[in-house]
Amino acid sequence: MQKISLGVSLLSLGLMIAGITLFLLRGNFVAVPGTSVLPASDFIHPLQYRTTILVMSAGIILLALLPALRVLMALSLYIRSRALINILAALIVLIELILSMRTG
């Protein structure tokens, strides 16, 4: 469980770092809410910008899915050990997490 967790963490970190690196290598400025820096879309091709943002977003989403993955792994362990109450608790938490994804 720890190895899978570590693997997914590293993958999401890798995606985030890759996205930031791609963004910087193109020599782009950054538009951050609240600052006066020039928007990146004025300087790079919109498709390249979207790809870079997609890579970074994928990293964030993968990181956000990691806790759900850990709950899923705990659920599989509880199913094997037939701990009914813990199975129920894990299922409810998973359903809540899926609902939160649909709410967002």
Binding site: Q2, S5, L6, V8, S9, S12, L13, M16, I17, G19, I20, F23, L24, F29, V30, A31, V32, P33, G34, T35, V37, I53, M56, S57, G59, I60, I61, L63, A64, L65, L66, P67, A68, R70, V71, A74, Y78, A83, I85, N86, A89, A90, I92, V93, E96, L97, L99, S100, M101, T103, G104
Partner: protein, 259 residues
């Protein structure tokens, strides 16, 4: 590029401070993002949630075996905490930013008081093994679930981990040994933050170019803070950080009321 670098450095410093005080990053991060970078508070909260998940993932990846969380207890409490987090995240979109800032300042003051009290109280001569003893009876489930819901709501509303509610809840009210309560809380914070982060992402309150450098900085800073914590015993440092927390709280309150 400079802004990305500044965000990462700020995240690093916040991560170290939070680890030194035994807090999640949100309590320092949200004020820092709003006061220094002038980000809207909802964006700051969304960014903080990403940082919390990153730190939680890192901590759980390096946690020592055999001294981990009570996962069964965590999942049962998470039923209430996750529901609270979704509610809190939704509420954050309905409440005016000024009100959010005021609520945050109040929580900052309470957290500072809690950390100060924790530092002042005499440490009992407790054997290390009793922090992680296995034969304990869980009690006060109703109260536990109620407070877990409150912790989750605050976490979703303010982008904090809620550990300062969860650990005393499990330790003092539910009868869980302190070491296990702390580890269980660490397991829980990631799930709670994940429940909120999708709501903020869908609302457009998470910007990758802000969240990623900050989260990376907080993650590394937390690891550094955990490493140096046993090597620094200066009481003055703890008091200085509590003072900084109070100052940040007053700044946020001032801006919400006057600006």
């Amino acid at each position: 590029m400079i802004v990305l670098f500044e965000l990462a450095i700020m995240g690093l410093v916040v991560g170290i401070f939070s680890a030194l005080l035994g807090l999640g990053g949100g309590i320092f991060l949200v004020p820092a993002l709003t006061l220094i970078f002038h980000l809207p508070i909802r964006v700051a909260v969304g960014t903080s949630l990403v940082g919390i998940i990153a730190t939680s993932a890192g901590v759980s990846a390096i946690a020592p075996r055999g001294r981990g969380a009570n996962v069964g207890l965590a999942l049962k409490l998470e039923i209430a905490t996750t529901a609270g987090a979704i509610l809190g995240s939704w509420l954050a979109g309905q409440i005016a930013p000024q009100i959010l800032s005021i609520i945050f300042s109040i929580v900052v003051f309470l957290t500072a008081a809690y950390v100060f009290y924790k530092g002042q109280r005499k440490v009992k001569n407790v054997m290390k093994e009793s922090l992680f003893q296995r034969d304990y009876q869980l009690k006060n489930w109703g109260l536990g679930l109620g407070f877990a819901g409150v912790a989750g709501t605050l976490a979703g509303l303010l982008g904090i981990s809620g550990g300062f509610i969860k650990v005393p809840l499990m330790y003092s009210i539910m009868g869980v040994p302190l070491g296990i309560a702390t580890a269980t809380s660490s397991f829980m914070v990631g799930i709670t933050a994940a429940a909120s982060v999708f709501v903020y992402y869908g609302r457009g309150d998470i910007h990758p170019l802000v969240a990623i450098p900050t989260a990376l900085g907080v993650f590394i800073g937390s690891m550094v803070g955990v490493y140096i914590l046993p090597r620094i015993r200066a009481r003055w440092l703890r008091l200085a950080l509590v003072g900084l927390l109070v100052l940040m709280g007053f700044q946020m309150l001032y801006r919400a009321l006057v600006a």
